[in-house]
Assembly symmetry: C2
Homo-oligomer: 342 residues x 2
């Protein structure tokens, strides 16, 4: 990818929104300072070699606001988010960490509820929370409670994932309806007045990624959970600077009605809205149907869908095609950050 | 250890100070919720089994205030702290993560300086920062900049460390003068008016722990870096509920003059003050001199000292003995938290 330098004099909310500004900060400031090949790969989880064993290692801090929303909370999100980064790396997670920054004055009842939600999410996924840290700062020095989770997993020997494995003719699939998390948070904040029967999609995608890898092995080329910046952002990160692009069949992209309605009201594209329980996968084109069958056999996989194809016709670009054949370029989100969505 | 329940209705600064209140929170709330044997071991790093390979995994969030102080800064501290947790676990670190929570409006120049300090500390230790995360929250929702680092290491096959390996007659050693970090931070905050030629001890202790393990192998029984709560706290955690105690020879404990002076002024015991580049080790009694020689051969190890002995005379207690033979119980810090020391 082209080298970027970071020249903004101050940090703004956009730098945390997962779009172009975030990319500039990461590629222009952090990556050059920490320069190493593993970080340069810019995957959701780093691949580490430990005496010949391939490990995946990832970290995320969760600052979602509000901390409780339909279908989930900060605590469950913090566990699912890190599990999912390991899952899309083809790893079987072996342990999570939990590091809390607490505001003095926080009610213990809330801390207990968030902690129990973390414990429940971890238990359900069968992955233990094995180490932690607690810091308390003065009232006003943090907004209640932030949680960092990091995770370690063992990458399956059969998993061979990476942008370099993607080729024209491969199929693009999504594990289910997109945008549920982001829109749920917007509604919870009161940023849009809407009575919608909608909840976050926050969940562990491990059962789904496992089923896919079990069935297709190296027929799975690449996977990524579509969090901040949504499906559009992860696909743009995939194709950026590469000799291939992606065409999405817009009518195939699963979007629930309230998400579509809310996005229309706000002028948002569901492809830019954060998900916390959906991932995008690139699979060998001739095994696409097999991939969908494998996902639909798993609880929570019934809405998986092939939404597009990898092409060499427009390298480095993500293009959407409507049912009428019209095409548009689908770029990353530049303005209008949706801060604190996770 | 006796089961504790956590009944405080609100979180206070004391719960983050590393003393008795922190222990109550961790043992009374987090540990029961996340219940698993690895976490229950309550070591600085968790030991994970990855296909037969022993891994160490640890996490810490750094919220030190002020962010720059003599001899170090938030960024270097964040790297050293996590490296040291791996080091005292007998692990060779293979990768660190860096997760930032940034306040909107933070000057890029400060972020760059902290990032470069992290990179420099990691480079010096020879351990790459391989994965990261960036969140930005509204002005006022975080105090500038907090950094979480997590780390993964491979535990040396020859390392056999744990409280269960400690026995009466073992020697207690400390790697150098205690209290430098905590007192440096207090002076930097202006909490005490003192012109002292003092700087933080923040550093990676990896060269020291490596030398010790290389020389003594399983003759090293247990190690712990003496951060929040100081040497007194880590030794009390070691002996708590166990059939042995520790006697410290008070005149052998290395303390620099400005630290001693400052502690006297503030009514603090240097044994309760945080260190960020010193560790306590328990080694086989008949190999104590060999241990000290090994440490003194390493740069930064010249002030290592035997400061006490493990005894079965007063189980579960840490006792200090003055040169006049008087004895006192050295407990953990209960009141007077020193918040945001790391």
């Amino acid at each position: 990818m082209a080298k970027r330098s970071f020249t903004d004099p101050q940090i703004t909310l956009q730098h945390g929104a997962g779009g172009e500004a975030t990319r500039q900060l990461v590629e222009g400031l952090f990556a050059p300072a920490f320069a190493n090949d593993t970080l340069a790969a810019m995957e959701d989880a780093a691949a580490l070699n430990a005496d010949g064993l391939r490990l995946a290692f990832t970290t995320d801090t969760f600052v979602v606001h509000p901390r409780n929303f339909p279908g989930g909370c900060l605590g469950s999100l913090a566990v699912h988010g890190t599990l999912n980064d390991l899952a899309v790396s083809g790893a079987d997670p072996i342990g999570l960490s939990a590091a809390f920054v607490l505001e003095a004055g926080l009610d213990t009842s809330e801390l207990r509820a968030q902690t129990e939600a973390m414990a429940e999410a971890a238990r359900k996924a069968g992955v233990p929370i094995v180490t932690g840290d607690t810091k308390v700062v003065e009232h006003g020095s943090v907004d209640g409670l932030y949680i960092n989770t990091s995770g370690v997993g063992v990458i399956r020997p059969s998993a061979d994932l990476g942008p370099n494995r993607v080729r024209p003719g491969d199929a693009v699939l999504v594990s289910g309806p997109i945008g549920d998390h982001g829109v749920t948070i917007l509604i919870s904040r009161g940023e849009i007045e809407l009575e919608a029967d909608l909840k976050t999609d926050s969940r562990s995608v491990l059962p789904l990624t496992s089923a896919l890898l079990d069935q297709l092995g190296s027929g799975v080329r690449w996977m990524r959970d579509a969090t901040r910046g949504g499906v559009a952002t992860v696909l743009n990160e995939l194709v950026g600077g590469r000799p291939f692009g992606v065409v999405l069949e817009e009518q195939e992209i699963p979007v629930r009605d309230p998400v579509r309605g809310c996005c229309e009201l706000l002028g948002l594209d569901p492809l830019h809205v954060a998900n916390e329980g959906q991932f995008v996968a690139i699979v060998a084109g001739d095994r696409a149907d097999e991939a969908i069958r494998a996902l639909r056999n798993v609880e929570g996989g019934s809405d998986a869908r092939i939404i597009g194809v990898v092409t060499d016709e427009h390298p480095a670009r993500v293009v959407g095609r409507t049912s009428f054949g019209a095409k548009r370029v689908i770029d990353v989100l530049v303005g209008d950050p949706l801060p604190r969505i996770c």
